[in-house]
Symmetry: C2
Amino acid sequence: MVNIKVAQTAGFCFGVRIAVDMAKKAGEQLGHAYTNGPIIHNKQVVSYLESIGIKELKDYSQLKPGETVIIRSHGVPPETERQLKSMNINVLDATCPFVKKVHDKVRQLVEEGYFVVIIGEEGHPEVIGTLGHLKEVNGQGVVVENFEDLIKKVPKRNKIGVVAQTTQSEDFFREAVGYLAENTEELKVFNTICDATSVRQEEVKKLAPTVDVMIIIGGKHSGNTQRLAQISKALNPNTYHIETAEELQKEWFEGKDNVGISAGASTPDWIINQVVEKIKQLKGVTA
Amino acid sequence: MVNIKVAQTAGFCFGVRIAVDMAKKAGEQLGHAYTNGPIIHNKQVVSYLESIGIKELKDYSQLKPGETVIIRSHGVPPETERQLKSMNINVLDATCPFVKKVHDKVRQLVEEGYFVVIIGEEGHPEVIGTLGHLKEVNGQGVVVENFEDLIKKVPKRNKIGVVAQTTQSEDFFREAVGYLAENTEELKVFNTICDATSVRQEEVKKLAPTVDVMIIIGGKHSGNTQRLAQISKALNPNTYHIETAEELQKEWFEGKDNVGISAGASTPDWIINQVVEKIKQLKGVTA
């Protein structure tokens, strides 16, 4: 007997799921397409997508009219999309809806007369896209990623508007907003931080204490997966962090019938499914 | 020879100056009027105003039609003003313009659909007035004065608007705004903290190191005056904190010709002028 509970929030976040699905469909239907940069940090997924004809675009000059480019979750500046279209490229937009919301809010803030502060990493693809939308509406703004940036880069203005990179840490966001409110007359803040990571962690906190064994799937070097394993281990010492089903060991499950599973943000469902099947096999249960 | 520099920001803030001037005029012209609560925390000023017929209103039932009530800097709920007018009371409104701005911003936030968080002291006269304006436009909101209030009193809302009591400390304001931004989708903050105190301190920081002696005038128990004296002493050890000209001692000025003066928020100009004249006298200079 084995009872396996897979966390609902295990694996891909909403945005990554959309982008990978789109790449998969493009591969299956067109047999050839590009993604503007790596679509996900997971070797297995990238290998699979390459096997069906999806490659990372290294240089725009390699593109030929009629070819397809998938814009990944991070989004791009509107100029990039226009440029691709002017080259007669077929553009599939997999920009994460939460990133699109950041673009919309930046435009709204500019319309309402705010100087825009983007809390995030200068040079991060998502931020480059957001800055493109700021420029598109002739907005003024800066990117801040630490306290020094706040002091040095934010000019004295009466109306300041704030958005955050969707993967921004809450700590600096809170600090930056507090500082900005203190140093302006009117501050409007859109909290555009995506809660996928914290929601995934919350579910592990609930699941881990209720099972005999917890399996956390994801890259050994993936920060969000390590954190997930750490949280799980604190609540259930029988926690194992694996990358693929091959690493599972029979003795982990001896006398343990209730198994919980979660996975980091870059782990696709099929790897999670392989883990589920392998555990059933080790427990002598066949579908 | 003596060279006396009085700080431009010494003494009354803008709002208190307006209220005291209005009370003085009312006393001189009408010979009898009330203030709704103490107009200022300074014994000398209150005694003077009493001598010209200005008393603190203890109970609304003591008012007779045709009498005059001066609304002090803190402001009142609109209902109070209506009530007074319905009793045929002559209302003189000395509400500080910066407090009126808080009222306007609360109304604006309600119109724009925000749940209002007032950062300030529950029960403080200014906050009671502000809550009256919130109620007037059927707005929803709470007052928070510490972190516990934030956790307990602020409900989960998508749009939160913030104003501050004009005398709110910057530290909790910053902390509260950061927390609220983290826990809502859209936050609009009007920084309504009055900078009179910090501007007065900045001027003392500049003045103290350039003179031989610094005189800080204001109540010995007045927090803002104590702080002013503390800042001055750190930059100029020859700093003396006095309440009136009588406390000045001749030896403080021996061999010291450059004197700087500043004063706390409740110190009227005439007390500052008496100090200036007394120093001239001690230095053997007559006007």
